[in-house]
């Protein structure tokens, strides 16, 4: 599979994402923010970092970049788009994902491993996971507190749009396991259609034992395996 990794000025997890996809045996390349086309992409990753310095609000400026118009068109055709950390913030600002990410409740930048509970396996981004086993994946953010109004949260719950929640090692959703104050311990969500997802933790930083955890693989492998499964059934969306 071919994965386009978007690169904004001040993206800093772009190479990690490319590396992780290649470690998993697939092809990945970088697409600069000024580009208007994604190339022959089967999926898109918007990586972590501090796009455009995170000025004004995280992701607020990146969403207007030329490449985001191509990402939007790709998503509109059903293409899989995964936003990680700053990429999640960019996707919420762009309106491709519901809600918003605000300052951590503690006001601290949190950089540590956390546990994630996979909420269900009906998503292209979770279908290979074992929902009974929490994933140990690192976070590194100052503004990862997920917010949406109560009615939106209820709607997302019933649509199965909440994919990952912060939990303890045993899978329990506790306040202590919530590193940033996210409502309902939400770590990652999808859009209603299910083809666009975002999460604050960094699966691409947890794909090899030498990095301390390989639990992030299942997020990326789910996406890649979904594409392979679908590839035999339907043509891929045309990258603009």
């Amino acid at each position: 599979m071919n994965v386009a990794v978007i690169q904004f000025p001040a993206s800093n997890c772009d190479q990690d994402a490319v590396h992780a996809i290649r470690v998993l045996g697939h092809s990945a390349w970088l697409v600069w923010h000024r580009e208007c086309a994604l190339g022959p992409a089967d999926a898109v990753i918007i990586p972590g970092g501090f796009s455009y310095g995170d000025y004004l609000r995280c992701g607020a400026i990146a969403r207007f970049s030329p490449v985001m118009q191509a990402v939007r068109a790709f998503a509109d055709q059903g293409g899989l788009v995964l936003g990680i950390c700053n990429g999640f913030q960019v996707l919420t600002e762009a309106g491709l994902l519901p809600g918003a990410l605000v300052r951590n409740r503690s006001l601290q930048f949190r950089c540590e491993h956390v546990f994630l509970r996979v909420e269900h396996t009906r998503s292209p981004f979770t279908w290979c996971a074992d929902p009974g086993r929490p994933l140990r994946i690192p976070i590194a953010h100052g503004e990862g507190c997920y917010y949406a109004d109560e009615a939106s949260l209820d709607r997302m719950e019933s649509n199965g749009q909440i994919l990952w929640r912060y939990c303890d090692h045993a899978g329990a959703l506790t306040d202590a396991a919530n590193p940033n104050g996210s409502l309902r311990n939400i770590a990652g969500v999808s859009n209603e259609r299910g083809n666009v997802a975002g999460l604050m933790p960094h699966p691409e930083r947890a794909c090899e034992p030498i990095l301390g955890s390989s639990d992030g693989r299942v997020v990326l492998e789910s996406m890649l395996a979904w594409l392979q499964k679908r590839g035999s059934l339907a043509p891929r969306p045309v990258a603009a």
Partner: protein
């Protein structure tokens, strides 16, 4: 002519910055503070001779689309001569 835009967190959104400033005010002995909300101030200088009504419309649009995020923030816009 210039525009003043004040962006504040919506009341429903937890504002840890405002809460921390409130606590600090209490520690410093300032009493009677019920709540503190920390936001942003944006000043935009407009070209001389800009049509006021057109500027108002354009900046309202910019506030909704870009300068504030309506999910988490409110904005206040005023244009001054």
């Amino acid at each position: 002519m210039k525009a003043r835009i004040i962006v504040t967190p919506k009341k429903a959104v937890v504002d840890p910055q405002g809460k921390t400033v409130q606590n600090a005010l209490a520690h410093l002995g300032y009493t009677g503070v019920r709540a503190v909300h920390v936001g942003k101030y944006i000043e935009i200088e407009l070209e001389p001779g800009t049509d006021r009504a057109a500027a108002q419309r354009a900046l309202e649009d910019a506030c909704r689309k870009f300068l504030s995020n309506p999910i988490i923030e409110d904005y206040y816009l005023e244009i001054l001569d």
